[in-house]
């Protein structure tokens, strides 16, 4: 079973690396979102620094959900999903491994690059570090929630927009605590730890629940 999981992770990783729309495009999308905001707001450094963490979080949210609609759709299109359902790996684990690969290829580069982009939003060093930490902890929950949406819309042609409609409301708690944790560092009076721990809890909750929800949705699509 471990061998099957490793093989699935390797396959997803290779596909993400070889097909455009993996890490590089997500990163560029993230960069573009972050650079657009200062142009829209104007050169007010104090304001930028204040809303900087929120901007980074919104950009990470959109960039994470960008590729997630292909998570199961491509396997549905080429018939792989039919075989994955009866593979050695329970479907719940298939979902989990695919999410792990998707996060490693797509979201992890964003987390690593976020301090760099934070500089453009006039964040100070502490805020950069804490924002990156909150993104590292929070983005797995975003990927897992996106996976539920992707599984629900798998049998629909062009379900991308519907996926956003389904998944975005579910990401609100993650966004609230993520931004709260990130802005605690940039001049906020609130402490960092409580929202950060709540964010950890949300990710653990998504880790425990989302694979079952997504697998159930995939099975439902067969019947």
């Amino acid at each position: 079973m471990r061998k099957a999981a490793a093989a699935l992770f390797l396959r997803e990783w290779r596909i993400a690396r070889r097909i455009g729309g993996g890490a590089a495009v997500g990163l560029v999308f993230f960069l573009i979102l972050v650079t657009l905001i200062p142009f829209a707001i104007g050169p007010d450094l104090a304001l930028l620094a204040k809303i900087g963490p929120a901007i980074l979080w919104i950009a990470a949210l959109l960039a994470t959900l960008l590729g997630v609609d292909r998570l199961f759709q491509s396997d549905e299109d080429d018939g792989s999903l039919d075989l994955l359902i009866h593979g050695r790996l329970p479907l719940e684990l298939v979902v989990l491994v695919k999410c792990a690969a998707h996060w490693t290829a797509g979201a992890l580069p964003l987390v690593i690059a976020s301090p760099l982009f934070g500089l453009m939003l006039a964040l100070d060093a502490r805020a950069l570090a804490l924002t990156a930490a909150s993104l590292a902890v929070g983005t797995p929950a975003l990927t897992l929630i996106g996976a539920i949406g992707a599984a629900l819309t798998v049998s629909l042609r062009r379900g991308g927009l519907l996926l956003a409609v389904v998944a975005l409301p579910l990401t609100i708690p993650v966004l609230i605590f993520g931004v709260a944790a990130a802005s605690a560092a940039s001049g906020g009076a609130a402490p960092f730890a409580p929202p950060f721990l709540a964010l950890c809890a949300l990710t653990l909750l998504a880790l425990a629940g989302a694979p079952f929800a997504a697998a159930a949705a995939l099975r439902l699509a067969r019947s």
């Binding site: 792989s80 039919d82 050695r88």
Partner: protein
Amino acid sequence: MRLRADRLALDRGGRRLFSELSFELSSGQALVVRGENGAGKTSLLRAIAGLAPLAAGALELSGGGDDAPLGEQAHYLGHADALKSALTARENLQFWAAMLAAARPRAGGRRAAGVSAALDRVGLGHVADFPIHALSAGQKRRVALARLLAADRPLWLLDEPSTALDLAAQGRLHELLREHLAAGGLIVAATHAPLDLPDARELRLGAAAAA
């Protein structure tokens, strides 16, 4: 090993495709499903594979010494080849071999062929390291057939297995099918093309559904 279908009925899109369909198949036997377009051949195969619900009836695979669900003892070769176009033929097969391998080797079953051996068997050893998108439709089909060899599963469910295959490849396909039967496997194939199999039984869907 024995596959028993008892009074199956299938619906698709609110339409009853067939009902009261019963057949039995034991080790070393093949069942060729025939019928017009839309008679329900693909639906029957998908139902056996556990990919579509039965409206009525029961399916049972017994005597394999393996209590895994039917779907996990079956290879399903559908219209789609289940290959990732960005990966090479070898990478695709390595993945499916790991993913589809049986938890325990089947008693009396053949050992699964290695990935390279499986590709050689379908005559594609020379393109093993080409990405799938560089292969022709027939070559993709042959890679999909190599998947049946790379992981050992007793029941093969084949939907139009000879699509896009040239004459030589069709000959090779028949050879693989005969070997699988000789090793005690079971085959259910839906096809319009003639299949060169010894004492294959025929099931005609549509007019009168009886085996």
